[in-house]
């Protein structure tokens, strides 16, 4: 799974929107057999809340309410009494949540654990919420890909028959859907490491006798077994946006970034390198007020009247964003900076890999003055904007213009020799919240960095701030800046590169020759190389 590194930070950011902190307001309980030798990250997390706290914090009575499929609800958090499902469903990387009745290292121990629920006051309340005679129910079984026959599954269900739900069984869309999970070891691809039937219909006795990693039994929250189908990418059809470009952020990543940035209804969001507006659009979908800036007027204008940033927003019925053509390296020359405006700055800055970074100005020390009558039609010169400066300016703009508690979320490409502790740009006013690594190719990945403003900006210290952005000074800045060259060098080392380069060159020569020939023939000049037979 590409986004493994992001799961916990995304969850923590969304929880903090509700002032919930893991470790303080709830505990992360170790999974069964957490000390086993199984090397991979497990796909489950158990959060334990004090029951009285949970009753105060959440609307526990409506947890079976099916999550709304209304897009605008993505942005609405009923902070006063959310359901657990409405809080957690916002987390892109969470598929569903269970109200956990019991857990164990086998089906029997799990069933015993569930039986203990009756014994406590909290447990009695939790169970009695499922005991309406009119509430239909069913027990689904999730075996993570291990094959079990129907009789075997029913045997598992029978172990929980003691719960004695009074209502009718209903397989599709019952009031209460219970889930029994039998967790087993998976390989990197997500298939069972020890399948019961590695060859069709022949049971592998050894695999079959392996105990599960864990068994969980509980009630599905939010009325839906898998949230991915609901208020998610598929429904949003972010992929079907009318205006996409070569650097458009993949939709899932921008949903995650806006969670890391804690964007909510009425958050004032700013994107200094708005490009095609894919991240800005997600801010809008979360209810944020969106402002985007870019140096490149062509990208701001879009391709045509039906393919531009505004048409993307209109497609989702969102209020139009503000767009300005400005230069982030000169932010404080274009905008007032005395009052912090922004709650979130979320962006994918240009690195010169696919989109060259430019800033205003000439590389000349003393550029030629523009005369007043030329001023109106003059096209501003731009120069190379080094990645290290892009990052330094970005952090400084964020430090100055975010409100305290506001977040900066940005992407930085990095080679594998990147040390997040010393190679990331830093700023006195910003604290590093998390860094998430997404591998892209063997040599290259990208890191999504989340920072939060904790100290107010002092304009008198601007030079000090800018000079201390890079911890290892030029070294770290260089690592960042030379990514394009290093990518090229890495590509050249790949096997077969020489051959492919030769082939491409040959193709180019052939195409050139063919064009020349076509031109000559068009002008009526006879080629001396033609294998003419007969008379002409």
């Amino acid at each position: 799974h590409v986004h493994l590194d992001f799961q916990r930070p995304e969850l923590e950011s969304v929880l903090s929107l509700h002032d919930i902190k893991i470790g303080t307001d709830c505990l992360d309980i170790p999974l069964p057999r957490h000390d086993s030798e199984y090397p991979h990250k497990r796909p489950f997390l158990i959060l334990s809340f004090d029951y009285d706290y949970a009753k105060r914090k959440f609307n526990l009575c409506d947890e079976d309410e099916v999550l709304s499929d209304d897009i605008s609800r993505l942005s609405i958090i009923d902070k006063n009494r959310p359901t657990v499902a409405s809080v957690l469903s916002r987390v892109t990387l969470i598929r569903s949540a269970l109200e956990l009745f019991g857990v164990g290292i086998s089906i029997d121990t799990c069933a015993t654990d569930v039986g203990m629920l009756w014994k406590g006051i909290a447990g009695k309340e939790i169970l009695s919420r499922c005991m309406e005679e009119t509430s239909s129910w069913s027990i689904q079984i999730h075996t993570l890909g291990t094959k079990y026959k129907r009789e075997e599954q029913n045997e598992m269900r029978d172990r929980f028959a003691f719960l004695n739900f009074p209502g009718p069984v209903k397989i599709k869309d019952p009031t209460n859907e219970f889930l029994l999970i039998r967790e087993v070891e998976l390989d990197e691809k997500g298939t069972p490491l020890y399948p019961r039937y590695p060859t069709k219909d022949i049971l592998n006795e050894e695999n079959d006798s392996r105990p599960p990693l864990g068994v969980y039994f509980g009630r599905i929250l939010g009325g839906i077994r898998d949230w991915r189908g609901n208020n998610r990418l598929e429904r949003l059809s972010l992929k079907k946006r009318s205006y996409l470009g070569p650097t458009s952020m993949d939709a899932e990543l921008s949903l995650i970034m806006t969670n890391l940035g804690k964007v909510q209804k009425n958050s004032f969001c700013f994107e200094p390198f708005v490009g095609t507006g894919s991240i800005l659009l997600t801010c809008g979908l979360r209810g944020g007020y969106c402002c985007g800036a870019d140096l490149d007027i062509r990208v701001l204008r879009g391709r045509n009247e039906n393919e531009n940033i505004i048409s993307n927003f209109q497609q989702f019925n969102l209020v139009r964003p503000d767009l300005v053509r400005s230069d982030n390296s000169l932010y404080s020359r274009h905008y007032l900076t005395d009052k912090p405006m922004y709650d979130a700055i979320i962006t994918d800055p240009p690195y010169g890999i696919r989109a060259g970074a430019r800033k205003s100005g000439s590389k000349l020390e003393h550029p030629r003055p523009v005369s007043e009558d030329q001023r109106h039609d003059h096209i501003a010169q731009t120069q190379v904007y080094h990645v290290s400066d892009v990052m330094a300016d970005l952090l400084n703009v964020a430090a100055r213009n975010l409100v305290i508690g506001g977040r900066l979320v940005y992407i930085i490409p990095s080679m594998t020799d990147f040390d997040a502790k010393t190679d990331l740009p830093r700023h006195d006013c910003l604290k590093l919240v998390n860094v998430c690594y997404q591998p892209l190719q063997v040599e290259l990945g990208r890191r999504v960095v989340t920072m939060e403003k904790v100290v107010e900006y002092d304009p008198l210290q601007k030079d000090k701030y800018l000079s201390s952005v890079w911890v290892n000074g030029q070294q770290s800045a260089e690592k960042c800046a030379r990514i394009r060259e290093r990518l090229m060098e890495a590509v050249k080392l790949k096997p077969g590169y020489e051959e492919k380069a030769r082939y491409r060159k040959q193709k180019r020569v052939e195409t050139r020759e063919a064009k020349k020939r076509a031109k000559r023939e068009a002008k009526g000049i006879i080629s001396l190389n033609t294998n003419a037979t007969g008379s002409d």
Partner: protein, 140 residues
Amino acid sequence: EIFKMRLLTHNYMQSTVKGTENGYPLQIEADKIEYEESPFDPDFVIALIPKIEYKTILFAVQQIAERCSTDLPSEIQLPDLPETIEKDDNSEYDKELLKKLHVVLLDIHVVQGHLVCPGTGRRFKITQGIPNMILHEDEI
């Protein structure tokens, strides 16, 4: 028109062409104004109040008043704003005031025109609704 510029945007933009300290607020030469209604959210307007320069709002309204009288549809009037914004006795903002602020900040758009630096007279063009603030190489 696809792109439009709000007065909220104008509120926090300035010009600091080399050689002037006086770059705010920018004057507005409005050649074309449009009205586009958006949903009124009082909480959002209240959150904006501490972030805006109110005097600049009054100034901006003055600047566009003439163009508004020709370009706005007849049912829409440029709202009449008080000299200062104050909370009432219950420590709340008057809802009518919030609605007026909403219209002025968010729903009235300059589609064509110029923003002009008060100190140097340098004009920044608003072409098809997007203000172009890029400084020329000799202005940096």
